[in-house]
Symmetry: C2
Subunit: 216 residues, 2 copies
Amino acid sequence: MTEFVLTTFDWVPELPRGYVRDIRVRWALEEAGLPYRVESVPFEERNAEHFMHQPFGQVPWLTDGELSIFESGAILLHLGGLSEALLPADRKRRNEAVTWLFAALNSVEMASLPWALLMFPGDCEETSAWKFMDDFLRARLGHMETVLAEREWLAGSFSIADIPMSDALRLVDRFDGLANYPACRAYVARAVARPAFVKAHADQMAHFAANDPEPS
Amino acid sequence: MTEFVLTTFDWVPELPRGYVRDIRVRWALEEAGLPYRVESVPFEERNAEHFMHQPFGQVPWLTDGELSIFESGAILLHLGGLSEALLPADRKRRNEAVTWLFAALNSVEMASLPWALLMFPGDCEETSAWKFMDDFLRARLGHMETVLAEREWLAGSFSIADIPMSDALRLVDRFDGLANYPACRAYVARAVARPAFVKAHADQMAHFAANDPEPS
């Protein structure tokens, strides 16, 4: 097996730390016990090679031999194909996990990420556009609350679907958006208590802190 | 091979017609020449069986024998595994197509769908929340413009990636959001000129029109 190389930024400001998307890939690699090393690209100046691997100038991307994969969803699916700790072999359960992977990214995070990005500055006005995004998210959370009230993980056992789903909800929780969704909040708590998440999170925090400028 | 059953709403208002997500699945099935039939669930009252297949109360879902798949992205991936007209067999090109499938859903549509939903009412105020969503979309379109200026389809030849990407951009184009992105607009034009899209679109329009109430 080739060694996986995960590329992320060398540094990011404090606000997004702990939430940069490489955490999803670190988490999956830790769950599966797959060996990897982490490389960095500059946060400040994104060069042509960066765009060659990641056309939106974002992170992460993962290389597996000759394959270079961007989009954390695609990376999770790829890793799922390599480990039953991430994706069950049974055809029906595998279908369920893959379906929920897409649901996390295209039904829940499509509402939650824009919502959270609007929350980051901390000065949301009460406008119709803001209210629309808030209602959009709440509708999705209401359905997820029903789903998560009845199950521990999305597809029978922990899978690649739970990584982006719990991570998307974790960002909502950061801005106290889960106050009325106890099952969603309990799901996030279960997810972040997993040793693989704890290590992934600590590693990301340490990685960015290591490149902090010296205090002057 | 089992017959695929695609489930969509029995009817929707005029505004979303031609853009309901079943079009992506119809399109893929037509590209691959796979046999399918279409079933309907009520748009007005969504019952427990609907939520059993689609936990967000949306459409479409597809059944393939014992598998029931919701999320159009997951359905496209499933169909891609059944036809090289949708997903190339070559490992490297397949990786590229799957990566772009996720990019369409989680990098582009995450910006474009909320933007379009805000545009639908036609009375967008100039607020910071609206401007933020507009800037978010424009940043993504700028990168897609660079990508699409250099290629006909996202992954070498037409693939499952092009269905959600061109469909997401088509919705932006509906509200004239591609005026400054000629390569994106030309890509949408290439996509909608495909016979499989033309048939999928006509079939969706006819399906919803068939259940219009009689004029009184």
